[in-house]
Symmetry: D2
Subunit: 289 residues, 4 copies
Amino acid sequence: MKYKGIITPMLTPFTKAGSIDYAATETLLDFLRSIKVHGVFPLGSTGVFNWLETEERKKFLEFVIEHSKGMKVFAGVGASGSYESVKLARHARDAGADVLVLMPTYYIKPDQNYILNHMNLVFGKIDADFFIYNIPQFVGEFISVQTIESLIKANPNVVGIKESSGDMRYFSRLIRFSGKEFSVIQGQDDLLLPSLSIGADGGVCGTTNFSDAVVDLYGSFMDGNYVKSREIQVSRIDPMMEALALSPFPEAYYAAFYTKNKLSGGYREPMGTPSDKVIREVGKYLSDQ
Amino acid sequence: MKYKGIITPMLTPFTKAGSIDYAATETLLDFLRSIKVHGVFPLGSTGVFNWLETEERKKFLEFVIEHSKGMKVFAGVGASGSYESVKLARHARDAGADVLVLMPTYYIKPDQNYILNHMNLVFGKIDADFFIYNIPQFVGEFISVQTIESLIKANPNVVGIKESSGDMRYFSRLIRFSGKEFSVIQGQDDLLLPSLSIGADGGVCGTTNFSDAVVDLYGSFMDGNYVKSREIQVSRIDPMMEALALSPFPEAYYAAFYTKNKLSGGYREPMGTPSDKVIREVGKYLSDQ
Amino acid sequence: MKYKGIITPMLTPFTKAGSIDYAATETLLDFLRSIKVHGVFPLGSTGVFNWLETEERKKFLEFVIEHSKGMKVFAGVGASGSYESVKLARHARDAGADVLVLMPTYYIKPDQNYILNHMNLVFGKIDADFFIYNIPQFVGEFISVQTIESLIKANPNVVGIKESSGDMRYFSRLIRFSGKEFSVIQGQDDLLLPSLSIGADGGVCGTTNFSDAVVDLYGSFMDGNYVKSREIQVSRIDPMMEALALSPFPEAYYAAFYTKNKLSGGYREPMGTPSDKVIREVGKYLSDQ
Amino acid sequence: MKYKGIITPMLTPFTKAGSIDYAATETLLDFLRSIKVHGVFPLGSTGVFNWLETEERKKFLEFVIEHSKGMKVFAGVGASGSYESVKLARHARDAGADVLVLMPTYYIKPDQNYILNHMNLVFGKIDADFFIYNIPQFVGEFISVQTIESLIKANPNVVGIKESSGDMRYFSRLIRFSGKEFSVIQGQDDLLLPSLSIGADGGVCGTTNFSDAVVDLYGSFMDGNYVKSREIQVSRIDPMMEALALSPFPEAYYAAFYTKNKLSGGYREPMGTPSDKVIREVGKYLSDQ
């Protein structure tokens, strides 16, 4: 079976007081179901997994799985430590996640051997479907095409790649891996149509936390309506992405979600509340639902 | 009038002894006409303009214009010095080039003010159609979207952009400038289809010096045959681009052209002859004509 | 009181089986006392704090403090999460560390506001002496000079900076902060003498885990013996640093320590055992003691 | 014979109208003689060689040699084209320059082979003393230590290196080449004392165009007065360098020179006149002479 379509890298809603807001999480999951995303990806970078405590991560994931009603759950199991990722992966599998998403070790800028050791260790120890997560702007290094080839060959449970580098040339070199049983997914909303045009299997798109534009684009593209796809990419998604870039990632995603749902909402430190200008700008792109 | 389609950033053929080979230049122009590129761009980076003497540049351009028979000529007028670019631009216009292609000053890493001063000076002094040429990997700096906006506003003779950064996100922010009288052109062959998918007006594609794949892709795309476009991009062009990257730019382009045309050929220093392996690899992608 | 001199960013010795080796840790502390370093810094990058579990970190720190016999203890309290750093800082202070060393949040590339929020939160909540730790190659961003100024002004308990960027120009701009009550310390062994020459207060130098060269250099410099300082920097330390760079950081530091002490030793994954060549190269620089 | 001491990378004075100002050039040479720099380096980056026409370059160099009265002349012969550098080198030698200073080819980001081909060609064809000029921020690539080793071995007429990368670690790896007949020179004023501390033979320092601080530092250092050297580096030179960085290089150097000498002065395009604030800031650091 192959994973396709639009997946939401879920933000982690917070209360004004700073703890995880589970009511708001339900609101988010209801919205995602209503706009028909194909899967949800809690505990990725948009979800600021790295600023959550381990117990928060586990509880949040369990809650999302319990309330996912039909949406596939891609669970982020990233950590700097290989053994920490093993533990998180074991928990996520036991909790019922469909796919586990693993990034390279980070902080100490890894070379390709560190990446191989880290990922082979986790893939080898946990019997579950995995996505490779490439995000060099945070990890400090690209996973080389050769490393990906080697990881896929050694680990039959690796079933896809989420590629978020923003480097379209690199992404195009991964398209070769897309096949009947393997998915290549674009992680940047503003590169979605270019990626679909060369054969990407879908997108992990942060704007779906508050907008249905990406889902519309994907639907139009699958219907063969290329003119409409282009219109959505250029006129709805790209300006939205420029507005979101006005605050350091991912503050403005949180502001957009809180504004859309009339929540006071909180920002886990070291995030802070974006300026009124940013809130106004991203406010232009919220879906009505 | 608007410039569209596929343009060849012509290499400058050399003899074994190291001077410009005009017979080989005719061979190249004949091939380009036969595969129906829409324009030729002599004296760009592929043409190693920066390793030619001023007199060589002028004579080569005059020869290309004279033998262009129906193909539009986009003449590179790049130089580090603003006044040198003015002189080259004046010559190119007088020689009959259709469009002049101007890059920022280079060597001293320019800030946006240096870019504005340099380009406004040349655009203002020479009454001709101009393309802006963005190539930050050699210039040391991107032309910011705001700078482009300002250049277009101040100079009605700026009619397009050749964007060769390889940064698809940046490229997508330029698409807004594409209009009835303004062209946005992709300068990287392996980003051609992604760029067309969001509305690019064409490509300046180096592989056309020895292959018709890019022209086929563009034709298929204009006919609405997206499946074929994708097939050409992924299976013909992308592997060719990987092979070309085996030698430092642009040696392998020269090797491919010489091999295709059974020329002994020369490499203007500091270029050298690529290894046999590189010549073999790029040899797989040559058109029959 | 002001902190000065040579501090060892302690590696965390592991057993072949992979757990922390406390006997080897005593061996290391004995060596450091014998060569007369002025302080020890457990749980920094050389100590791969990011690959240890929280309980391991706490226990290791307590052990080091207990066995430090007269050496000042600078305890790394770095984490991606601000609240995690608060907890680690509270523990380290209560355990009796002399100074706490705090880096910016990492993984999500922080802007200066994220850095300010993160550090102000920790400095404000824990009443202890702190060093700022600048290490942009792992964090993804420099702490700007202006941010440092602001942090010092707002937090009287900030008493120094460990600057490990390797950018000597940036380092020289920090020298202004060195004063009667504030220390500016170089974190790269191969920049030690250049840094002392402009007024640095000391060095946090990884090679002290197995070599006394840096301590010799510092002693010679303080004695006014500049010729000998230079000789040690150029002929003993710099070649050692080149050898250590043959493996991805910090594998070769571990190999050197294990070789020096005839320990079989382990490498916490994703580290691996360096090649025989690397072990041979770094083996040339071990102190006899 | 070995070249040592402080060398001035001369700016090229312009008249308000934009041509080279030879009267101001004499003023500059008189100042340099008065502060006792050991050599002058016309036609480097500070001299904006890349924005001069070939005839201007030649005439300016001849003028400087003619008026150098005892100061060694290091002539910049940099160009993107290898053959252009050969021609410039031949002219400079014939005009009587003491040393020719050659950088790698630029614009097309060179790999080490391009660098080797370019430099070996020029060194081999012109029988004169040469300095290698490393300036990766403009060239696009470092000259690797291995390449430098190879160039020195193959060309006995290479007698020194001007290293302007600003990377102190790289610089420290070059110190090994300093010997009885070979000079290693620092090209950044704010790294002068750190470089001297590890054995550099001198500095090519831009602030000498209007300030004697660097000459004072060098003299103090040679006299063994390390405290005074440090004081000059930290309190006079470093703040001056920060002020000069307020405008894009090298505008503020020109502003400082014109202000010091009460010249209206011009800025060869694409340079522009710095803001009043910049002129005020750099005005604080001018020598009285």
